[in-house]
């Protein structure tokens, strides 16, 4: 025996699928219920926010080799700017923007460094925030992803491997390159070569922005400089003596660049982990030089 039921007609919902939503990073069309872009894996929340609030955030890239300290830098920067509003205030947009700050600071307060950022772009933390600068009424909208260093290196070595990296770097108006000063001081040229490759890659990118890459601001931040007085006092001189290739590359190809030194952990030890092997452990947290490169970049980006 057949039993008849009344099925509500919800075909109007299909109309939403008919309207494509372009990804904010690569501009590929996606359906309205996509969480990540099907082409580059950027979170579609960025596009939804931009559309619903009629905003066009600028993009700032924080890149560097694996273990250079990108996650710690970004998390610490966000927390410092949200704690002391008199210098510059940061207001996160969307709950997803606070995840990076939350995980980084929770780890640091336990005297641990945050876990390594996974290579999969859909697992990266993104920060969409508003910056309020003293004396300026207009808020600046900014997007900063925490990209994995290995993914960036892979894209630099084999272009188009990570579409998100390329698409983001093409569109961003400024870049912050983190270089591990401890490894530079040890004399290994690995950091020097990686940064040179990255700079070459940047200078050959398409000009998605109005400015050519040669004119866009590039802040080179020498991280882990706590125990390196030479680096803290004069980062440019340190780079000239310990990363000659990088220094000359910047002089030749990037008209707007500056070297900075930063550090977060006052002292570091190591810990043998069953799963991760030898893991670095901060013995105390004393951030230095975190806000300065960001301030410098924002000033140049506004010009």
């Amino acid at each position: 025996m057949m039993k008849s039921v009344i099925q509500p007609l919800e075909s109007y919902r299909l109309a939403q699928y008919a309207v494509p939503i372009p990804c904010y990073i690569c501009e590929t069309d996606n359906t309205f219920d996509c969480e990540f872009c099907t082409h580059c894996a950027a979170p579609m929340a960025l596009a939804h926010q931009a559309n619903s609030q009629k905003i066009h955030p600028r993009m700032l890239a924080v890149v560097g080799s694996s273990g250079a300290g990108k996650t710690v830098y970004l998390g610490m920067l966000m927390d410092m700017l949200s704690r002391v509003p008199d210098r510059m205030q940061l207001l996160a947009r969307g709950a997803f923007s606070i995840t990076l700050q939350q995980t980084t600071l929770a780890a640091l307060s336990r005297c641990e460094f945050p876990r390594k950022t996974p290579n999969e772009p859909d697992r990266w933390n993104w920060v969409h925030c508003q910056i309020r600068r003293p004396g300026q009424r207009r808020l600046m909208e900014l997007i900063m992803p925490d990209m994995a260093g290995e993914a960036v290196l892979e894209e630099v070595d084999h272009p188009h491997t990570f579409r998100l990296v390329r698409a983001f770097l093409e569109k961003c108006t400024g870049v912050m390159i983190l270089v591990d000063a401890m490894r530079l001081r040890e004399g290994t040229r690995e950091q020097d070569y990686f940064t040179m490759k990255l700079l070459s890659y940047l200078s050959e990118l398409k000009n998605g922005s109005k400015k050519e890459w040669a004119k866009r601001p590039v802040a080179l931040v020498l991280t882990k400089a706590d125990h390196n007085e030479e680096c803290l006092e004069d980062p440019a001189a340190f780079a000239r003596s310990h990363a000659v290739g990088l220094w000359q590359h910047c002089q030749e190809r990037f008209g707007c660049h500056k070297f900075f030194a930063a550090g977060v952990a006052g002292a570091v030890a190591a810990h043998e982990s069953m799963t991760d092997g030898r893991v670095q452990v901060p013995l105390r947290i004393e951030p230095h030089g975190i806000i300065e490169p960001f301030e410098w970049l924002l000033e140049r980006m506004m010009l």
Partner: protein, 414 residues
């Protein structure tokens, strides 16, 4: 309008000279003209020079007037002149040395009283008792650890004898006394193991002294700031010169957390010297202070129960203990080099939980960091705190056994 007095005479000379020049020209006589010309030159010089002086010389004089006081090294004292030596030692803050049993018997009553006054003025008495070093129980019972882990992580109880602790960290001015007295050249003050490195303990200009000093002297206007840029060995040598020592970890924690025994097994101790909650008005840490080291008399509200200031914040403080990785929140660690303990946090310490009495961090003992200073301690049993009026005349008869002397001292300071 008032004319300055030093302009009146040149003005009169100017008038007379003009008249003379006029007369000389009218009479076609050279001599009045020459006299008038000379007068004009004189008047011109007198009128112009003050203006030039005021514009050129005053800026050079002004910095001299506002230049901060730079301490001068003390004049050498005749080693045979005991009174002068005692005076100098009191001025240098070496009263603890004068109160040692071997020396105090040679002091007269007035000198002994002054040394005792200095002790009470600059050091606080911390009573004996037990203190818990390591993680405080409440931090362990947050549900993340099981019973076995809690038991293994629980702090160890350490007994502490009565001792005096400096009320303030050692300042630049106090450390200057050590430097000026040739502390870096007195090898007896230094650990033998470190002797080869002492020559390398120099300031920015290559003179013996803390790392951030210049020409053997602290930066102008920072006499009252805690000394920083000193290694653990420099701190130890200075403490020895003062007749003191670095506090042990248990002593440092006891002075700050002021434990109280509730029963034989239970005790309560504070997280911060003022209580269990961070108060940004009481400590110079990141976010609450000006972002730099401040003089020792600031943040006085952070005083401990016993009257010790700035235990938390401003600068980390070296203690006598070696950094043992097991007591760090991260557990067993592999250290890049042997480390000594530092405690209390500094002006740039970011997290409140790293600026507590319990938290310890480590630093290479040769490290001369921008935010690490020290304060000194001395055991009550090491000092003579009271004596009979006939003590100076009969030193051999007066000297009591160590235990008796300690009891006597406690009565004086109770």
């Amino acid at each position: 309008m008032q004319v300055p007095k030093n302009y009146i005479l040149p003005a009169i000379v100017l008038l007379i000279s003009l008249v003379n020049v006029g007369l000389g020209w009218l009479m076609a006589n050279v001599w009045p003209a020459i006299a008038g010309g000379s007068g004009l030159c004189y008047a011109f010089l007198r009128l112009v020079r003050p203006v030039r002086n005021s514009s050129a010389k005053s800026p050079r004089k002004q910095p001299a007037a506002v230049r901060p006081r730079v301490p001068k090294p003390r004049k050498p004292v005749d080693p045979n002149d005991t009174d002068a030596l005692v005076e100098q030692m009191l001025e240098q803050g070496r009263f603890a040395l004068l109160l040692r049993p071997q020396i105090s018997s040679k002091l007269d009553e007035a000198q002994f009283s002054r040394a005792l006054e200095k002790l009470q003025e600059s050091m606080a008495l911390v009573p004996d008792g037990e203190v818990v070093l390591g993680r405080i129980d409440e931090a362990l019972e947050d549900g993340e650890l099981d019973a076995e882990e809690i038991e293994s992580s629980r702090g160890r109880v350490v007994g502490v004898e009565r001792f005096f602790l400096d009320r303030y960290p050692i300042t630049n001015g106090q450390f200057y006394e050590f430097v000026a007295a040739g502390g870096y050249q007195q090898m007896s003050l230094w650990d033998k193991t470190i002797l080869p490195a002492v020559l390398d303990l120099v300031d920015r200009t290559g003179m013996p002294g803390p790392r951030y000093w210049t020409d053997g002297c602290f930066p102008p206007g920072e006499e009252n700031h805690p000394v920083v840029g000193v290694s653990w060995y420099e701190a130890t040598a200075c403490a020895r010169w003062l007749g003191k020592r670095l506090p042990s970890d248990a002593e440092w924690v006891k002075a700050g957390s002021w434990p109280v025994a509730l029963s034989a097994d239970e005790r309560t101790q504070r997280k911060y010297p003022w209580g269990n909650t961070m108060n940004p008005h009481r400590a110079n840490v990141w976010g609450s202070g000006p972002g730099r080291i401040v003089p020792i008399d600031q943040f006085a509200e952070g005083v401990s129960v016993g009257g010790v200031y700035q235990l938390i914040g401003n600068v980390w403080e070296w203690t006598g203990g070696s950094f043992r990785s097991g007591e760090h929140p991260a557990g067993e660690l592999i250290l890049p080099s042997p480390m000594k303990n530092i405690r209390g946090g500094a002006f740039d310490t970011y997290f409140d939980n790293q600026a507590t009495c319990q938290f310890q961090s480590g630093e290479n003992p040769l490290g001369r960091r921008h935010n690490i200073g020290f304060r000194c301690a001395v055991g009550v049993c090491d000092l003579v705190l009271a004596r009979s009026p006939s003590a100076r005349k009969e030193p051999a008869d007066r000297e009591p056994a160590g235990g008796e002397r300690t009891e006597e001292a406690v009565e004086v300071h109770a």
